[in-house]
């Protein structure tokens, strides 16, 4: 089954913890090992935690609208820190205001996130996406299921 290590947290000056906490609970229940950094987490803290725990993915929450500013250069920070392969997800109310999702998604994919998730994403869908992405990576890396 799973067992990968995930970092979760809410980036920047954002205190919206509820969705992030529920997500973290659901990911643990699904068998992942979750390091939950909580609300108000600077970008650097995500990287630090990922290095320390040799994490497989970082799941960034941003709800308050300023995610677009907070997430600038997040992928570069990872690469600088030697986290070249790490899976990056971002989700929440990612920009200020109501805008068509495809444009918002594009902006965050362009920033280097592997996937971006719109408001009201169900936790099941996150588990499913992670499972699929990890399987694909294992396939790519030629690793067989243990």
């Amino acid at each position: 089954m799973t067992g990968e290590t995930l970092i979760t947290g809410v980036i920047g000056s954002d205190t919206h913890i509820v969705g992030n906490r529920i997500l973290s609970m659901a990911l643990e229940k699904a068998g992942f090992s979750v390091i939950a950094l909580g609300a108000l987490t600077p970008a650097d803290d995500f990287i630090k935690a990922a290095i320390e725990t040799d994490a497989d993915a970082i799941l960034v929450s941003s709800l308050y609208g300023q995610g677009e500013l907070d997430c600038q250069g997040f992928r570069d920070l990872c690469i600088e820190a030697g986290l070249n392969e790490i899976l990056l997800y971002v989700g929440g109310n990612l920009v200020v205001g109501k805008h068509p999702w495809p444009g918002v998604e594009r902006r965050f994919l362009d920033m280097g996130f592997d996937r971006a998730f719109p408001p009201a994403t169900r936790t099941d869908d996150v588990v499913e996406a992670l499972t699929r992405d990890f399987e694909a990576r294992r396939g790519r890396a030629g690793k067989a299921e243990p």
Binding site: S13, R21, Q66, V96, K98, P119
Partner: protein, 498 residues
Amino acid sequence: MDTTLPPDRSTTPLSAAQIPEDEFRVMRRENLARWPTGAEVDIDEAVAFHKSMPPHKQLAWVMRQAVAQKKCLTQPRGGVATIEMQKDLMRVLDQDGLADILPTTTDSYTRNEQFSAAQKGLEESQKAGRSMLNGYPMVNYGVRRSRELIECVDKPAIVLSGTAHPKLTAEIGLAAGFSGYLGSAIAYTVSYTKDLSIELGIRNHQYLDRLAALYAEKGVELHRRHPGFLTGTNIPPSIAIVTCVLDALLAANQGVRHYGLELGQTLHMVQDAAAIQVCRELCQEYLVAQGFNNVFTPVTSLHWMGAWPQDEAQCAALVCYGGTLAAVGGAANVTTKSTHEAIGIPTAKVNAEGLRMTRMAVYLARHIRLDGFDEFEREKELIRREVRPIVNKTLEMGDGDVAIGAVRAFEAGVIDIPWSPNRHVRGKVMPARDADGYLRYFEKGDMPIPDDVMDFHTESLRRRAEQENVPLSLDLAVQSVFDIAEPLKRLQPSPLVV
């Protein structure tokens, strides 16, 4: 300039007592030195400016009128990155939205006193031609520029700045001519910070309250207000009211005599009406018991603060019902949301529509009052029986000092807040919605709620679990976070779906 987190230089031990004049002078000087625009603050000039405004632009007077006339005012939220955009926004909310009170919400960097980050966001927004901040960077613009916001409309304005670091923003905002200021020690510390202690949160707000009282001493009554919504997430009335009582006592101790109370709606008509009445009643009861006989405490009802549904039609119903609930509860004011709530900060137009929907809903229910209705009286008594033991225990723990009591009560879990991001909150309490649509306690943590009251809560939740054929477990409390946000097909399926 180190602005990230203002060091607390106070050497005096924590107490609810009023900050001594000379100490406050030093505190203010240091505070204002943290960002260049601090130098623009001249409290006597500001007092003169406030006095030059007609009463209908002064929120304290306006709130007193609303209570006297038994009217329910409407107030939106709203803040954008540049002053030009902010003026446009306020004008639309005024003219199209018919808002009685105009808002200026600050951005989240400003709230956390990251003024350089706010500056960057401001500039990127100017470049992009759209707001990339979730509010107005009040400190970066400073006193003189921000006064343009006051001058562009003929109605009172309030600063909405959810933060436990209000010190510099309040100095700028009040000096600019804002006559209302939202924020309080306990409420904002538990909902907007992760590491800040309750003690520091209290100290920061004692500054804010003392400042407001200073204006009052100089002849300008301001509308200070408690943000009763806390984490916005299934807050049962009794928890909100406990914080209202304690924060009101803290403010009164600093000299505040005009203190608004806010309550997020539970979306149950009886529970919300009961909450509004009991909040007013118990705050007065404890204020008077501590010798504060003349504190004016109007109540504001807030549109649903938890998760909203995606569908704009469903949101319209929440907006309108929010007006209904405020009116039926006899609130002096309702703070509105919009049909965009689930997705993003609303456009000015959509925000104005939310105001008008609410205003019409208030109009339609203006005559409805539940006084004398059994279920309503029962609910009021239930809330009283939850609030009193917690407040009494807190005051007892502080040996009569509410500041010390509050700190100790949080340490002991005597006060607990659901879904708080703050480490100093125990976080064991867990509310859930019951079979009749009331918010109840699934888990009370270590709060001293009487056993028979808890039995009532448990029983009503057990009935829901039974109805939905699920176990009575934490999952039900988590589901309660989503309840209102579900699509209609799930919320209200055709009764024939078997």
